[in-house]
Assembly symmetry: D2
Homo-oligomer: 279 residues x 4
């Protein structure tokens, strides 16, 4: 499994170009960045050369389409999506991800059917470029009541949603924090096939009752209470070969410098990969 970095947890890491260089320097294989922006600034060949120089690939791009609001906003995003997908494909990236909030101010069933159609359209466009769409279920309990009506947050619900979307290239973004806050187990991972997982996020949770773990209260891997050894060895056991990307969402900017945070991240990965019996 590839070690990946996102910007979340690295403080003021600077440009995506700098993130790529830092990833390469600190032993990471992938970065989650905006592929189109990288090409816009460096040209296609320049972008490829930069990634090649640091032996870093793009783990996933974010879904830029606004699928949660008005139809007008949604449509505006669709033409950008084809460009995003073309850029990602040109740089060898095969994943595009979005998150699913566990509650909504809209009527839940109506929002569900509208979002099903919209995400299907997104998946169809991405699929034309060989890119998969990953849906991230979001576990922290406080978010389930942060909007008026409960939406979808469990693994089972998300798999049922993926089946409703019905496109071959839709799967999960599997985040250790949401695995933990949903009370899932190693057996729940072992019941999955690797192709059901488009992308993985890793981070840790503080030693508070699981119901109190805040979405923006995440820790570096191995600094908290999540069984990340079990998480990683189960993912590896089922044959998942993609990125495991750090995403440390926090209420406050980190006190350390980007360099210190990169060292901390590198050590965190060494620790949890070793605990999982990997490399």
């Amino acid at each position: 499994m590839l070690k990946g970095l996102s910007r979340a947890g690295l403080g003021s890491i600077g440009s995506d170009e700098h993130l790529i260089a830092a990833a390469g320097k600190y032993g990471f294989h992938t970065v989650d960045i905006d592929a189109r922006g990288l090409i816009d600034r460096n040209g296609l060949e320049g972008a490829r050369a930069l990634l090649a120089k640091y032996d870093v690939a793009i783990g996933s791009i974010g879904l830029s389409v606004e699928w949660r609001n008005s139809e007008e906003k949604f449509r505006e995003g669709l033409s950008r999506l084809a460009d995003d997908a073309a850029a990602a494909a040109a740089l060898g990236c095969r994943a595009c991800c979005t998150y699913v909030l566990p509650a909504t101010n809209d009527k839940a069933a109506h929002f569900a059917v509208i979002a099903t159609r919209r995400l299907r359209t997104c998946a169809q466009i991405l699929g034309a470029y060989g890119i998969r769409l990953g849906l991230e279920f979001v576990g922290p309990h406080h978010l389930r009541t942060a909007w008026a009506n409960p939406f979808l947050w469990t693994l089972e619900e998300t798999l049922d949603w993926i089946a409703a979307i019905g496109e071959p290239n839709v799967g999960l973004l599997f985040d250790s924090y949401h695995w933990y806050t949903n009370g899932l187990t190693v057996a729940d991972i072992e019941a999955l096939s690797p192709e059901q997982i488009v992308h993985v996020h890793i981070n840790d949770a503080p030693d508070v009752p699981v119901e109190e773990a805040r979405d923006n209260g995440r820790l570096y891997p191995g600094e908290g209470v999540i069984d990340l050894a079990g998480f990683l060895s189960a993912l590896n056991g089922i044959g998942y070969k993609g990125s495991v990307t750090q995403e440390i969402l926090a209420a406050e900017p980190p006190a350390q410098s980007p360099e210190e945070l990169l060292v901390r991240s590198q050590r965190a990965y060494d620790r949890v990969y070793k605990a999982a019996g990997l490399a």
Copy 2:
């Protein structure tokens, strides 16, 4: 538009064979019956001969698949569905309908995505036989709170759901009672294309505040307060050519005999068709 009969509103009308004969006798063009049962009892040629004898067609069959409960129940129904569809197709019927309760005890978003997948599968099987699936939105206000969580009941929501299901052969069962209890207008019908409508139900509502109209408190066409002239002329105006089938759901069995109810139904249709400027 074809005048159609269902059993609802005809009391103890007897067998489907009798319903067919009665429909023919009282000037109706279609009946909503179980096509497979008709073939089972009469053979395919016998069933065709019976329909031909009375110049009556089958307007719609009901969806026998249980799509609202367990996956096991759902799967059990699927093999029956192919047989139902084969029987209906053999008798020239092109419609299969189900209703959508406006509330559910399940978590609404989760039920929405599961039902989306299940109804898509039903539509796909029906589609293999050239049969369309009609979804009936249900308007009476009291049903919206009859189960724990609100589901889908408006025209707009149902059209959005049909788009989420995403099969070419899914459309609306458009019932005058649900049109009325949703506060819809002639303009809402005029905004539709005829192919969006798979089947039509007609009946009337008592002169009570619309919020108090009970689902099982329906009247014969023209005996109540619904603008059925507007309803019918709008449907005709957009080019709808299918069945307009009487469905009188009532709390108590009717006091009249089936013969009297047939006469009453025939006169009801004559009245509202005439008011709509139709033949």
Copy 3:
């Protein structure tokens, strides 16, 4: 049914802006033009104002995606398609059409499955904007052997292809020349539902054996041997309400001026509409 103009048959008619003005002046309701170009040159409000000024709508845009060649070319077209669709939708256009050559130098079955996937993707993107995709089957016999392997050219084959594509918003571009050169009849039109037809082309054929009618040997409506009265009255009879757009493909540029050709087209429409018992 709306009277429509394309550029084909009007000689050096000039800009799309001029075509719109000419259409309005000569009693046509729609034009087939590049919606995006119109907006690019006039702004959205300017484009809308121009169409409103002449009381002309856009009948159909052309599918700009290159779905017949390499995957690379196909993908390049997809992001443009979303922009095309957005522009068409903003101007109220609901149709986008492409033609299907009756033979191919590719292996026919392989091309069929690749094109099925590509046109589905196109339909999905168009569908997100409420636009339908019309496929034009092409009848002239000489084209069936103009490339190495026979592809699809009959109505039945095209309907089967539409079913294989499987999206609700795909239908036919029905051209009188291809209806004629396929040996189709009024009954073949009467067997269709109006929603199966996305767009209609009209033109006439010379008095030669049907096998010898050349694709670029078309005449103005009523100047040849096609039963256009039957064609139009059948389309009207099934409830088709869209554009009937003139497309006169010819080997040589016309000898008359655009003004003369517009008069000729207007008279041609008056003649065949009258013969069909319309307007």
Copy 4:
């Protein structure tokens, strides 16, 4: 990877019940049989008990739907398919397979689009029961001209067809004979993801020019010239975990007894698995 048996290559092996017992006795993990027949004869519990007794699972059922001929035949098969799928699912089988002849007497493009729709419907019904559909491309050169028009026979074409079918549960039946007769390499397998492969067949080819290898001239694994060590290790390397099922199609019934053929098959598997560095 599971060692699997089909009837092909075992002579007069007798009933499926006997095949199950023989598979268990000779170290095979799966059998390709008719799941519904097994339940019909033994009851569901009896069928489960029999499989459990011999520690044998069902590798794949055959697709009983006739998708190559008339629409009528196709529809007749659909209701059986739901029953087949229910039976297979009840016994834990997750695969249903069919083969694709490399030529057809039908017009190739038309047959391609009809078959695309039909196989999609089959996949949709199977998918409702959690079963995947495997398409077997067929490589022997003589079959490519055995009917009038070339159809699909390469890996690339079949993957393109699977994309055209467009259902998440469709993949390949990958047969070593067709891999060999198509001139494919280990690298072609390594380019696949394991989820693209629904089922695997294994057998060997005689030492004749590849163009002359007959479809019914197959040998037991390891008795011919196919690089089965490369075949198996590549499949294992990409993470394929399903059945590798023997299928020895031959022009004449084998001279040996079923017992002798089972011993021969067992030794054949031991040999090629060992050569591939497995078990």
